[in-house]
Amino acid sequence: MPEDLAEIYRTTFPALVRFLYRKIWDVERAEDLAQEAFARAVVHKPESVRGWLFVVAANMARDDARRAARERRHLTLLQSDPASAPAVDEAVHAETERSRVRIALEQLTPRDREVLLLWDAGLSYDEIATQTGLARGAVGTTLARARRRLVEAFATGEQDEHVARG
């Protein structure tokens, strides 16, 4: 088990972080949660480690989002400007793109988004079906819809920004 887990860790950790990141949008937090998921896997020794990891990660991301929402409500008044140095244009651009994708992703239904993120994290249709409760045959259809909506929502966001800038 330990060697197996070490190998799974090496191959799956980045995907798990990517998966978590697109849910909570905080890379350090995503890494913490991914580590926590692996820590739990060490204890629980699930049969299918990879699928199990994503289930646990999804749950943790959901809890984390709730907690973050609560904290935001409480801390709005206390927040000061983050001590970020003036970033170069490139970083600003990347950040803008990132937040556009984020906004587009958030327009998907939770199920569509989940399936898309799981696929992008490297899970197979079978694994996605097991995890979401979808029939295997429905995974392709769901992915087709999720991808189309993501691309459309992103394009719409871009247009809106151009219109707003005049």
Partner: protein, 323 residues
């Protein structure tokens, strides 16, 4: 494919290389004769590429994979690090709870020799009610007395024992000021124990070297132990037990029971009439002395110490005995 066209879901599954082989062949056959579907295939291929591109934009900043370890300060400490501490605690807690059940039974009205199954039922009823209660610990000025009681036969108390001593002293204060037992009437815990003569004292215990805080425990007959306490001393049934007493605390009876594995269970008991607080299984002290784990815990006024490693098989054996 017998159907006229293919749907988007199939195209995506095909492009994702997730379409079952037989379906993939049929789909390719259809594409070969349907330009419209070939066009849609290319559309979907572009869509998939675009979606992946967008997701890549939203990827986290590239970072190295951290080693599979758990940083200090994480909200949840790593389970591997917790195991060594938790495992002994788990079995020791079980033993303590089992003893707690036995101790509690002595509060029962003295209905003459209760059958074992009845006692077990009473234990189950009594134990859960109070196990969660904890006693607020407070700092004690003079831990000496109890530390002496707690010290096993002939062993000097090392400096590392300090923390446990003050914790014990806090417990001791609690013991003295605590309420009396709800019902001081006694039902012997283990009828069989009466008939059993105590094994002879090991010579080493008597010849132990004197140290500032060392306490010598001398083996006493079981009858004497019963006379001191006024009741049958608490012990794990069906396991050899040695009753001991020290000159430093004459009203305390130490019952030592050795398990097959080399684990020693020590029960320090004083007469219930001298003040017994409510049952408390909240305080616990685990420490390493010479590489061994020792657990000291109070169940009412009964101090339970468990020392040494306990393999799983002897734990189940012990639990059978306690049952």
């Amino acid at each position: 494919m017998s159907m006229s066209h293919v749907d988007d879901g199939q195209l995506h599954a095909y492009l994702d290389a997730e379409l079952p082989q037989a379906e993939a062949w049929r789909l390719e056959a259809h594409l070969g004769e349907c330009p419209a579907c070939r066009g849609r295939l290319e559309e979907q291929r572009a869509l998939i590429a675009r979606a992946s591109e967008l997701l890549a934009l939203a990827a986290p900043p590239a970072r190295d994979v951290p080693p599979l370890s758990f940083r200090p300060g994480d909200a949840q400490p790593p389970p591997p690090a917790r195991w060594p501490a938790r495992l002994p605690l788990a079995w020791a807690a079980t033993v303590v709870l089992a003893l707690a059940a036995g101790w509690y039974l002595r509060g029962e009205p003295p209905i003459a020799p209760a059958p074992p199954d009845r006692r077990a039922a009473a234990a189950n009823a009594a134990a859960p009610r109070d196990t969660a209660r904890t006693v607020p610990s407070r700092q004690a000025p003079e831990p000496k007395t109890l530390a002496q009681q707690a010290s096993p036969a002939g062993r000097a108390v090392p400096a590392a024992d300090e923390a446990s001593r003050s914790a014990a002293a806090a417990q001791h204060d609690q013991m003295i000021s605590g309420p009396a037992l709800p019902n001081p009437q006694i039902t012997p815990l283990d009828q069989a124990a009466r008939a059993k003569p105590p094994p002879p004292a090991p010579a080493a215990a008597l010849a132990a070297p004197a140290a500032p805080l060392a306490v010598r425990w001398e083996t006493i007959p079981w009858d004497t132990a019963r006379a001191i306490l006024g009741v049958e001393p608490v012990r794990i049934p069906n396991l050899p037990a040695v009753a001991k007493r020290s000159s430093a605390a004459e009203r305390v009876v130490l019952v030592e029971q050795q398990l097959a594995s080399g684990t020693v269970v020590r029960l320090h008991e004083r007469p219930a009439a001298e003040g017994a607080p409510g049952m408390d299984v909240g305080a616990v002290a685990v420490q390493r002395l010479d590489g061994s784990e020792r657990l000291a815990r109070y169940v009412g006024d009964l101090r339970v110490e468990i020392e040494g490693a306990l393999p799983a098989d002897s734990l189940s054996k012990l639990l059978e005995l306690v049952k």
